[in-house]
């Protein structure tokens, strides 16, 4: 909302510079975003929040100025209204009825429609002073009549429209819904098809305006116009918003109707405009003021408890101060006791209908910055949840070993790559109103995004990356999807390095269960045979593997996607001290010749099966295939660590244990001991 500094001064006197005024207005919630000098005037750009449509006119701003800086409000006088229902009123209505009849078919969408007729006008430029003010706030002067309607809208917040009376067919105004097939050429020259859910102002034949949005070109005021039909009405906000959006027309008028107009300003605004038209364009108003109105503005009693006010604000505000503030904002005191005051809100403050709304009014005018800054909130220790701890640890560990954290969009495209879903068979959830196809679906895996990040970096000079992301994937569920928090890793390192890192993280998080690796055959993303499903106690921890060559990297990265929730579940931060061993360990190195198919896990399992009580660790060394190894075989080297808690082991007992282990390995896996 733009306002002219000089114009504002017409309604309220204040000895302030534009800058000083701006600070005061900002403090009561009318944020002055910009001040521009325009000739000898200033244009103030004010950010009006959506709950304050009353401030979409200069008079509204003036009211808050009075509240902010004091003074009294001066509102221009207009031709007084004739008392409704009296003889004079009836005679006038009979007179104007000869000129035009107004019928409102949908009173829900148009609770009030007023019309006046002014004849003998001369269209020409509006007076200098008016043009200057309009230009100051960025409006282009058109002609005296149109300028007056704009001027009064900017003054009162009430949009008006002037029709060329002689172009209205059948002396009729009908406020109705558009019928199928109807269209209109609006004053900006665009032809618009209208739909049944749109409200129009029609004459006897066709729509002449889209209610509250824009007038039609056929009936607009031109140089040859001699008689004016002045419309000043109230349209239902949602209706105007819908229509404005559907037609793609946002006007100063629709902007105001969408937010809600003071239901009691209609007649004042119309009479103000008629007076100004007469003074700017000459002419004479036809006797009579058509006012089709359904229902009346209901006022409501709002009780303010002083105790409640002070409790919410946190400072003792005197009753007189509170009452004075609300009076300056045009709230009327209906009744008061020492602790309670009944108020009636003015018609333009539809946003104030509860006690808490009154409290806000008092607080903002009292000044948020005058309210003390208290530090009396009770002390309380925050409770760290396990998820936080695990997430922090994982981030710390990964960054410590050289990983960068990425953050990528949860909304992705529907490409084959992005459709990868390691966790379920259903496809991702689609957004019903996407902005672009590139962002139209909730992702089911973080890995495609990390792959894209790697590609982006490769194109920008960073060939090798090590990165991770902790974020959610969205798996279709019943009402709401399952949101699974995943830890995904992309690393330009080999399989075992990445696997080792996962194992190290598990150890660090105190996960006692052994992480098992099972073959996995969902090949889209991974290289066949180089991908594992990782299990913890039979539950799927996640997947890891080398990237498929289809990803078209020179060296495919290693990819991991883990279930953070399972990691959190299995993490154990309780640490119990284990007595340091008192007796020395005995190490035995072994190299076994086994078939290619024999997995390390089965060797471990077979050794564990021997239940040697003092076998402490099995440490893998390497796998060797070479000249000395027959085809189809491999050599696996490892060492066994024996250690007893209660004694120094004798060589003989270790020998027996070692022989037992070798025997078992031979029997179960056909493993032969290699000659060292």
């Amino acid at each position: 909302m733009k306002i002219s500094f000089n114009w504002l001064k017409e309604y309220v006197y204040f000895p302030l510079t534009p800058q000083e005024l701006s600070v005061r207005l900002t403090n009561v919630g009318l944020v002055v975003a910009d001040i521009k000098q325009v000739e000898d005037d200033f244009c103030l750009e004010i950010e009006v929040t959506s709950n304050r449509p009353d401030c979409l006119g200069a008079i509204g701003i003036a009211r808050d100025t009075v509240a902010a800086v004091g003074g009294s409000l001066q509102i221009p006088a207009v031709t007084p209204a004739v008392e409704k229902g009296k003889a004079a009123d009836k005679a006038a209505l009979a007179e104007i009825a000869k000129w035009v009849t107004v019928s409102v078919e949908d009173t829900m969408l148009c609770p009030r429609y007023t019309a006046q007729i002014i004849q003998y006008v001369t269209i020409g430029p509006s007076p200098e002073w008016m043009q200057k003010r309009l230009k100051c706030i960025g409006l282009r002067p058109v002609n005296n009549v149109v300028d007056v309607t704009n001027y009064v809208m900017m003054e009162t917040g009430q949009p008006l429209h002037a029709f060329d009376y002689d172009k209205i067919a059948d002396k009729k105004i009908v406020v109705r819904r558009a019928t199928i097939g109807e269209e209109i050429v609006t004053i900006n020259g665009a032809r618009r098809a209208l739909f049944h859910d749109m409200l129009v102002i029609a004459d006897g034949k066709k729509p002449v305006a889209v209610a509250g949005v824009m007038g039609g070109r056929d009936t607009e005021v031109t140089e040859s116009t001699r008689r004016i039909l002045l419309e000043c009405a109230l349209f239902e906000p949602r209706q105007v918003r819908r229509t404005s959006r559907a037609l793609g027309i946002a006007s100063d008028s629709s902007y105001r109707f969408e937010r809600g107009i003071d239901p009691e300003i209609t007649e004042y605004a119309s009479r103000r405009a008629a007076n100004l038209i007469q003074s700017c364009a000459g002419g004479e108003a036809v006797n009579g003021f058509i006012d089709v109105r359904s229902g009346k503005h209901e006022t409501k009693k709002i009780t303010l408890r002083m105790e409640r006010l002070n409790k919410i604000i946190g400072v003792e505000i005197k009753k007189e101060v509170a009452v004075d503030i609300l009076k300056r904002l045009h709230f009327r005191v209906l009744d008061e006791t020492s602790h309670l005051i009944d108020f009636e809100a003015p018609s333009f403050r539809g946003d104030v209908y509860r006690e808490i709304d009154l409290i806000e009014e008092v607080a903002r005018v009292y000044g948020y910055n005058n309210i003390p800054t208290k530090t009396s909130v009770s002390i309380r220790g925050s409770v760290k949840n396990k998820y936080e701890t695990v997430e922090n640890d994982v981030r710390r560990l990964l960054t410590g070993v050289g990983f960068y954290e990425a953050k990528t969009f949860s909304i992705v495209d529907a490409s084959v790559l992005q459709s990868i879903n390691l966790w379920s068979d259903v496809s991702g959830l689609d957004i019903s109103n996407p902005l672009r196809l590139e962002e139209s679906r909730l992702r089911t895996s973080l890995l495609p995004s990390l792959i894209n990040v790697k590609r982006y970096n490769a194109n920008h000079g960073t060939e090798r990356v090590k990165m991770f992301e902790i974020a959610k994937v969205y798996l279709a569920g019943e009402k709401l999807p399952q949101e699974k928090t995943c830890l995904s890793i992309l690393a330009d390192t080999d399989f075992l390095t990445v696997k080792g890192m996962i194992e190290a993280i598990l150890t660090h998080l105190g996960v006692h269960s052994k992480c098992e690796s099972l073959p996995f055959s969902k090949p889209e993303l991974f290289r066949d045979g180089r991908v594992a499903k990782l299990l913890l106690d039979g539950k799927i921890l996640g997947y890891m593997g080398e990237g498929s060559s289809d990803l078209a990297f020179n060296v495919p990265p290693c990819l991991v996607e883990l279930d953070m929730d399972l990691l959190v579940e299995k993490a154990n931060f309780a640490k119990n001290y284990q007595a340091l061993p008192q007796h020395p360990p005995v190490f035995r190195d072994l190299a076994l010749l086994v078939d290619e198919e024999v997995a390390w896990a089965s060797i471990e399992k077979a050794i564990a099966g021997t239940k040697v009580s003092f076998l402490k660790n099995i440490n893998f060394f390497d796998v060797y295939r070479g000249k000395q190894i027959p085809a189809g075989k491999k050599s696996i080297a490892f060492n066994l660590c024996f250690q007893a808690q209660d004694r120094t082991l004798k060589n003989e007992e270790v020998d027996i244990a070692q022989t037992t282990i070798i025997d078992v390995l031979y029997k179960t896996l056909n493993a032969e001991l290699r000659k060292q």
Partner: protein, 338 residues
């Protein structure tokens, strides 16, 4: 034997005086300490000695070796420096750059969220989370946002289906928490939010917010100011000033926008603060009684405040980042700066 060793030592002492260059020093070193040098020759004699003498002789040889090294090094050190460069004994260059381990980084947005969490943890706030795909009820109805509010339209909110949407604010977590927990409540809720904004330097269809909520008996607007002031001083600096402006949010009443004095120009006015000296950093207010009604809290007994801030905005302010898109490109050259 002893004599031979002494002779050798004297011989060196004489020869060493004669040398003038490093090259000569090297030759002398080879003559005495080389594979076929004087000391080596003595060593070869070792097996010929009686066993009981070997140990002592070996020790003497080692001592000789040490002495020769010292004599040579002292002489080399006394040589004029222009003779130094070529063939000189390797000198350790302590000014060489160190071998750095490769250390990764948390994403700058995570760093901001962690910093915010830390400040509020100190003030007794727990961290809470809620779903990103939400029911319309939690994103709007329960937050006192009327059914005809423009923010509910397709233009301002992403929908999955009729009443299921992508949350457009982390305020949803307020409701989720209060539904499960009786007062007192003290939480912050960081997370992703979504709005159908076309991406440019200042807008993104996905961004992060941190929501805060405190509900208890006797909580006032003055307490809200106290907590926010503490946050601002701790996070932005002790000299930073706070300013509140009345504003409007459907779920708080009274509502405020909170500004801090511009840290770039110390409030004098610059392009970052649009020459106002103030920068907007968060929205806040007293929880609207209708929100309490939605979660069946007694709005007469309990009062509370809520606040919300944009993580990208705060990070951009803090580090002088001028394009929000940088956060999601994940360019290593960007990430490595924080």
């Amino acid at each position: 034997m002893q004599k031979k060793i002494e002779e050798a030592k004297r011989g060196l002492e004489n020869e060493v005086k004669a040398i003038t260059s490093l090259k000569e020093a090297e030759l002398l070193k080879t003559k005495y300490l080389g594979r076929k040098g004087v000391v080596s020759d003595f060593m070869k004699m070792l097996p010929t000695l009686p066993i009981e003498q070997r140990a002592a002789f070996g020790q003497q040889l080692n001592a000789l070796k040490g002495e020769i090294t010292i004599i040579l090094e002292e002489r080399i050190a006394s040589l004029p420096s222009e003779a130094a460069p070529k063939g000189k004994q390797e000198l350790f260059d302590i000014t060489l750059p160190g071998t750095q381990p490769f250390i990764g980084k948390k994403h700058p947005l995570t760093q901001t969220i962690d910093d915010i969490k830390e400040v509020f943890a100190g003030l007794g706030f727990d961290v809470a989370y809620g779903p990103e795909v939400e029911l319309e009820y939690y994103n709007f109805d329960a937050l006192n946002i009327p059914s005809d509010h423009p923010s509910r339209t397709d233009f301002d909110t992403f929908y999955i289906k009729n009443d299921v949407l992508l949350r457009s604010q982390t305020s949803t977590v307020q409701i989720r928490v209060m539904e499960k927990q009786k007062p007192p409540v003290r939480i912050i809720a960081p997370g992703r939010v979504y709005r159908p904004d076309t991406v440019d330097a200042r807008h993104s269809f996905m961004f992060h917010q941190v929501e805060g909520l405190l509900v208890d008996e006797g909580v006032s607007f003055a307490d809200l100011k106290g907590v926010l002031n503490q946050f601002i001083k701790t996070y932005f600096g002790q000299n930073v000033q706070m300013r509140l402006r009345p504003s409007f949010f459907p779920f708080t009443e009274p509502s405020a926008e909170v500004d801090i004095s511009c840290s770039l120009c110390s409030g004098k006015g610059c392009c970052v603060c649009s020459y106002s000296g103030w920068v907007e950093i968060l929205g806040a207010g007293m929880v609207d009684p209708n929100v309490f009604h939605a979660v069946h809290y007694d709005a007469e007994k309990y009062t509370g405040f809520a606040f919300g801030m944009g993580v990208e905005r705060i990070t951009m302010l803090k580090h002088g980042i001028n394009d929000i898109r940088l956060f999601y490109e994940n360019d290593m050259r960007f990430l490595s700066q924080f």
